[in-house]
């Protein structure tokens, strides 16, 4: 049987459900009771102690196409050296250390170095602008941020209002040229070798990673995860992504987001797989070439990318040998049936949609290898996960195909433990004994889940959640904007893109130039994701009598639907 045809790791979904407890995940991980329950130990050092130090852990391809390979022993030495460097700076267990880097090898050394020290890693998307950085770094009171010569400029601007951020570590330069107070520069691979670093003795409830995500109201929230997330992340990688030690696995998600950490760092490396990382963003020819060159076997990507590949056409696919691919998965937003059918046609296998969130830490509802894929469906719950759709009173709906609030029964090992500094918002996510996800879904007669849309105002663009409040706050800082509202408008590639309704200050007139100025303003303040791709100038926003913007009305206007009950709108 060839590698492409071999049996999936998960034999039978139905069998796996029987008598499942989370002990199965710990058993599969081969939990070592004598070692610290530290993600970095299981993903790096344990492989070295088991004689796998020379196995390739990371294949990295630069923007220019240069390829570098790192084995587990190098990962161990470099992450040790990084941990020791942090320790020298006085950084200790529990401190928040942000990682603000492009997809470069030091990002992975730094991530494991932070965890080895027992500190909390805070991944930040490298396209974030100064305001987005300031909000997140301030909220978690980060003491240090790991960055590059390219990105440190934005941090310097944000840092003026971040007195607690004592250290900026520039990890792609060895010199001190141009450094400012509190900044240190070094190349991780040139630090003095540290053969052994005492890995912090943490337990399952010790915080590991703080991921910022967008909510319905207010600024982004920090979802705090713990080292005990590891068994679930590892088992889902094994059973859902079907990853094994001899795989070359490629997760296209950026490590600034949860997918890029749970399944671009932790899960695959806990299984000692080889991971491919491309520094370059979405370029179809580079992507196909990378699969061919590095013989990728398992590919985890996003619907937006898949739809863009579809747009590029079938012909280009024929220019590459993609026969190494064994299993394909997708995450971030619902995968439309056309994309599943297309991938079956051109790759000879379907993309398997997976559903989960920053807060869940790992895959919750999914299409398993070997399971009949119903194109467009989210699949079925992972063993050990109880999922339901709830009615308006937060009671499970028994009848099939009735739309409701998608909810999960807590707890599960990789569940977030709190929103940083925000206990009220955390508590509000739980109703009647369920974690309420904010998505709407239905369950068909055969137990397959089907995504129906968001249950709140959060915008899902290209698989990334954007908070309307954050966009509106940035818009208000533009000199021309008197008030604004942000909604998601349907988009054939990204599912939704940000649309802003803008009322102008006196002295400003709507124009194409002003539209572009506002777009670029938000792009630089927050990120390209949060930039409104559509701007509509409006005299006045629809509001309730209490002054709350009625985004529901704006969404209906945008879609050309009836606007519904406007009786609570403020009087003119």
């Amino acid at each position: 049987m060839s590698a492409r045809e071999r049996k999936p790791n998960l034999g039978s979904y139905e069998d796996s459900l029987r008598d499942f407890t989370w002990n199965v995940a710990e058993r599969e991980l081969q939990r070592d009771e004598a070692a610290p329950f530290n993600i970095a130990y299981y993903c790096v050092d344990r492989h070295c102690s088991q004689g796998k130090g020379a196995k390739t852990a990371l294949i990295w391809e630069s923007m220019q196409g240069e390829v570098r390979k790192y084995d587990f022993q190098q990962m161990k030495l470099y992450s040790n050296a990084f941990a020791a460097r942090l320790q020298e700076l006085g950084i200790k267990k529990g401190d928040r250390v942000a990682v603000y880097l492009d997809r470069v090898p030091p990002l992975y050394f730094a991530f494991f170095g932070i965890l080895k020290l027992g500190a909390i890693a805070v991944p930040l998307f490298s396209a974030f602008g100064e305001e987005a950085l300031e909000v997140r770094l301030s909220d978690c009171a980060a003491v240090a941020c790991v960055t590059s010569t390219r990105l440190v400029r934005r941090l310097r601007k944000a840092r003026t209002s971040l007195p607690l951020l004592k250290h900026l570590l520039v990890v792609d330069a060895a010199g001190a040229e141009g450094l400012q107070d509190g900044e240190t520069a070094f190349a991780v691979e040139q630090l003095p070798p540290v053969e052994e670093f005492p890995i912090a003795d943490v337990d399952a409830e010790t915080p590991s990673v703080l991921h910022y995500t967008s909510g319905t109201t207010g600024q982004p929230k920090g979802a705090l995860h713990v080292h005990g997330s590891l068994p679930q992340q590892s088992l889902t990688t094994k059973w859902v992504l079907d990853v094994r030690e001899d795989d070359v696995y490629w997760c296209t998600a950026d490590p600034g987001w949860v997918t890029g950490i749970s399944y671009g760092v932790i899960g695959p490396w806990s299984l000692a797989a080889t991971q491919l990382v491309l520094e370059v963003g979405f370029i179809p020819a580079r992507w196909y070439n990378a699969i061919q060159t590095h013989k990728v076997t398992v590919w985890y990507s996003a619907p937006t990318a898949i739809r863009l590949l579809m747009r590029e056409g079938d012909e280009i696919v024929g220019n590459y040998d993609l026969s190494s691919l064994r299993h394909l998965c997708s995450v971030g937003e619902p995968l439309n049936p056309e994309a599943v059918i297309w991938s079956q046609k051109v790759f000879g296998k379907p993309f398997h949609d997976t559903w989960w969130q920053t807060e869940t830490g790992s895959i919750m509802v999914t299409n398993f290898p070997g399971m009949v894929v119903k194109p467009g469906s989210m699949g079925k719950p992972f063993p050990g996960v109880t999922a339901a759709v709830l009615d308006e009173d937060y009671q499970p709906i028994a009848q099939p195909n009735r739309s409701g609030k998608l909810a999960l029964k807590p707890p599960w090992p990789s569940m977030f433990r709190q929103y940083w500094n925000n206990p009220q918002t955390y508590a509000a996510k739980f109703k009647n004994g369920w974690y309420v996800t904010g998505d709407r879904a239905r369950i068909d007669e055969e137990g397959y889940f089907w995504f129906e849309g968001r249950d709140d105002d959060v915008i899902n663009t290209g698989g990334h959640l954007v908070a309307p409040f954050e966009v509106e706050s940035a818009l208000l800082e533009h000199e021309a904007v008197a008030e604004s509202a942000a909604i998601g408008t349907p988009d054939p590639v990204n599912m939704e893109v940000v649309k802003a309704y803008v009322a102008l200050n006196s002295g400003f007139e709507p124009s194409k130039e002003l539209e572009l100025s506002i777009m670029n303003f938000v792009r630089k303040r927050l990120s390209p994701l949060a930039m409104p791709q559509v701007i509509e100038f409006i005299d006045k926003l629809p509001k309730t009598r209490s002054g709350k913007i009625m985004r529901r009305v704006l969404r209906a206007m945008d879609r050309g639907e009836p606007v519904g009950d406007l009786s609570t709108l403020e009087a003119d």
Binding site: M63, G281, I283, E312, M519
Partner: protein, 83 residues
């Protein structure tokens, strides 16, 4: 001002963070990370406003926006008289 200068100046002003970095006719923009796929939308809007054209989404691919030379070819396709 030539089309090359107009486009190069815009990219320099809006996307470059390192003042020492230069943008030439064949400098990779998307594949070098200077402009990401989401930011392409604002570059496309700029071109449409500046040259009074509409670039269909199917034509606005990462490859078509990867260098100033390719962007100029794209603009000329829809505005043959533009510079």
């Amino acid at each position: 001002m030539s089309m090359q200068d107009v486009i190069t100046d815009y990219i320099r002003d809006e996307y470059l963070e390192d003042e020492a970095q230069s943008v030439e006719l064949d400098t990779p923009l998307i594949s070098s990370g200077i402009v990401d796929s989401f930011s392409m939308v604002s570059l496309k809007t700029f071109l449409e406003n500046k040259y009074n054209i509409k670039i269909p989404d199917e034509e606005a691919t990462p490859e078509a926006f990867d260098t100033v030379r390719k962007i100029m070819e794209l603009v000329r396709k829809f505005a043959p008289d533009a510079g």
